[in-house]
């Protein structure tokens, strides 16, 4: 593991002076031949790859008007330069969003604009060659596709789309990223990113049922593959495996139980996270989405609910119907799909859940908005619901809640540092440094408002914080799931006094 220094937390955020090339060494492990081939990509760099890459880029800009506009419209105003958490944490100017876009834009200009074809050096156009490819591999894996820069761009240029396109081109010429591509392969064969087979999942859920009964005296079920259930819950497989994710899963189960809702998990579609989005691959994204449709049909459910997972919700909320619809077999009285926070929020609004927020009196909680939820989707039927509803659920579950500074939450939220397919140990330096802006905002509220816990709504954020918090002097268990707070506060009928 490379040695690096954890950035120091300053009393207030400072835009760092640039350090050219300071992260040029950072790159994730390259996908193996079999990881690539499972997804329909070549196993290694193909012959004539320069032309293959250029041709693919042409196809992408023809297919996506948005991508072409993003590549054409930048006026180098500089509004984005200090908005990326990876720039703020690493000082590498190539991590400024405009510079990242230019890695692809320079090649686009060379082959697909008049000026670039005839006067390349005048317009910053570059030939597609190995040094460009290497730079792409490094710096397009230093973008978590969080879209914060797009909020501040006067043209709304979305670097996430640019980075997805670049990754798709790299996959097409045979240079994929191991972490994402290995995981997509597992999800397509076994049903989830972990590679958790049905018997292991069943055993894990049974163990959790025992834990809940031991703790509360109430039998709360965690049904798996139960035909005829009303609700199919699709949740990130980390919810079965990791801490504090699993406490959130227990929270979902308690909500369903107490509200008398019939629900089930599916071993076939045991993954909400859709890594197809990270690599910009529509085909792979669709394959994963179709598993959810098939499971819903097979089990005969009436509703689909998603657990706490950021980009899963972006794919679900924005694309599920396009990828795997129509969902006309589901109950039209409910949103398709629905977020677990919406379910809990609706029940709370109707007074259908009894909560004892004093159960969380040992915590002062703040909330980390996940990028893909805050900026990429919606909850509820009102503007900004994706920001209001999770907070309402938290506030119903605990008495002490404080928000972080306004420019670090809501639409301007900072990435945890591990999103977009970068949550891998080979990128730990990037993850630690990229977490700096979030850690500074957290530090602010721990120092001045006594905040003790950071609630998160995404499996990646939870795992990232568990790993990264100690680098900044916090404890790993200061991160909690939203539905972990719900789980602590919800009063189940027949529950033993604590």
């Amino acid at each position: 593991m490379a040695d690096f220094e954890t950035p120091t937390l300053k009393p207030y955020p400072v835009i760092p002076a640039i350090e050219i090339g300071s992260m040029a060494h950072s790159q994730p492990f390259v996908a193996k031949e079999d990881h690539q081939q499972k997804l329909g990509f070549p196993g290694e760099l193909v012959d004539d790859w320069e032309n293959v890459a250029v041709k693919k880029l042409g196809e992408l800009v023809d297919k996506s008007r948005a991508l072409r506009v993003f590549l054409d419209s930048c006026v180098k105003c500089g509004a984005c330069t200090d908005k990326c958490h990876y720039y703020l944490g690493t000082s590498d100017p190539k991590n400024m969003p405009v510079a990242r876009q230019d890695l692809l834009r320079s090649v686009y200009r060379r082959y697909y604009t008049l000026a670039g074809k005839y006067f390349p050096s005048l317009v910053g156009a570059r030939d597609m060659d190995k040094s460009v490819l290497d730079e792409w591999y490094s710096y397009f894996h230093q973008c978590s596709q969080c879209r914060r820069c797009s909020v501040y761009c006067p043209y709304g240029i979305d670097t996430a789309e640019v980075s997805m396109a670049a990754r798709e081109i790299m996959d097409t010429v045979g240079v994929g990223q191991k972490y994402c591509n290995e995981i997509i392969g597992k999800a397509q064969t076994i049903g989830n990113n972990l590679g958790l087979p049905e018997p292991a999942l069943a055993d894990t859920l049974e163990g959790l049922e025992e834990d809940i009964e031991e703790e509360t005296g109430v039998v709360v079920r965690m049904p798996l593959d139960e035909e005829g259930a009303d609700i199919l819950l699709v949740t990130p497989s980390a919810d079965f495996f990791a801490e504090p994710h699993v406490d959130g899963l227990i929270g979902y189960a308690k909500v369903f139980h107490q509200a008398g809702l019939s629900w089930t998990l599916s071993s076939y579609a045991s993954e909400a996270a859709n890594f197809g989005m990270f690599i910009g691959s529509y085909d792979n994204m669709q394959k994963l989405a179709l598993r959810i449709r098939e499971a819903a049909l097979e089990l005969g459910v009436k509703r689909i609910v998603f657990g706490e997972c950021g980009h899963a919700w972006r794919v679900a909320y924005n694309f599920l119907n396009t990828l795997a619809g129509p969902f006309d077999f589901l109950d039209p009285d409910y949103p398709v799909p629905q977020h677990i926070c919406e379910v809990t929020y609706d029940l709370l609004q109707r007074g259908a859940l009894k909560m004892d927020p004093s159960a969380n009196d040992d915590m002062v909680v703040t909330f980390h908005d996940s990028c893909n939820i805050a900026r990429g989707s919606r909850m509820g039927d009102f503007e900004g619901g994706q920001l209001v509803i999770p907070r309402a659920v938290i506030k119903a579950s605990c008495n002490h809640f404080v928000d972080m500074p306004a420019d670090a939450i809501g639409e301007g939220t900072f990435c945890c540092g591990g999103g977009g397919g970068l949550l891998t140990d080979d990128l730990v330096e990037l993850r630690v440094k990229g977490a700096l802006p979030r850690m500074e905002a957290l530090h602010e509220v721990t120092e001045h408002h006594g905040v003790t816990h950071l609630a998160a709504i995404c499996a990646i954020c939870k795992s990232q914080f568990s790993k990264i918090l100690p680098y900044y002097g916090f404890e790993m268990d200061q991160v909690v799931s939203i539905h972990q707070l719900v789980s602590n506060a919800i009063q189940l009928d027949g529950q033993q006094a604590q």
Partner: protein
């Protein structure tokens, strides 16, 4: 990458996880720990053996909760915590212990 031990070469991935699970031996586990500057004591072995048994049955490493519960049952409730497991395996029980146990690294949002 590869691991040299006892005059033989064992194939590993970039992070030192064994590629062929059947290559594993107790000796090799000690060797891998040594390379990380760690030494495996009786407490580590309790965990490693549990992981191997679980993997044999389910073809996957156990969830952290399953592991802590099993350790708690065997070694007493005070040890059935992730804190205790992190003391034993500072790089994370799921990942570091899996490596010494010769199992593949857990993947996903973990």
């Amino acid at each position: 990458m590869a691991l040299e031990h006892g005059g033989k070469t064992y194939e590993t991935d970039e992070e030192g996880y064994l590629v062929n699970l059947s290559d594993w031996s107790e000796d090799l586990a000690n060797e891998m720990a040594k390379a990380d500057g760690a030494a495996l004591g009786e407490n580590h072995w309790e965990v490693i053996n549990f992981l191997r048994d679980y993997y044999e049955e389910y073809q996957i490493a156990p969830a952290v909760r399953v592991l802590t519960k099993a350790v708690g049952k065997k070694l007493g409730k005070d040890k059935g915590t992730s804190k205790y497991l992190y003391e034993l395996f500072p790089y994370g029980p799921a990942k570091q212990a899996c490596k010494y146990a010769g199992l593949p690294k857990p993947t996903g949002c973990v």
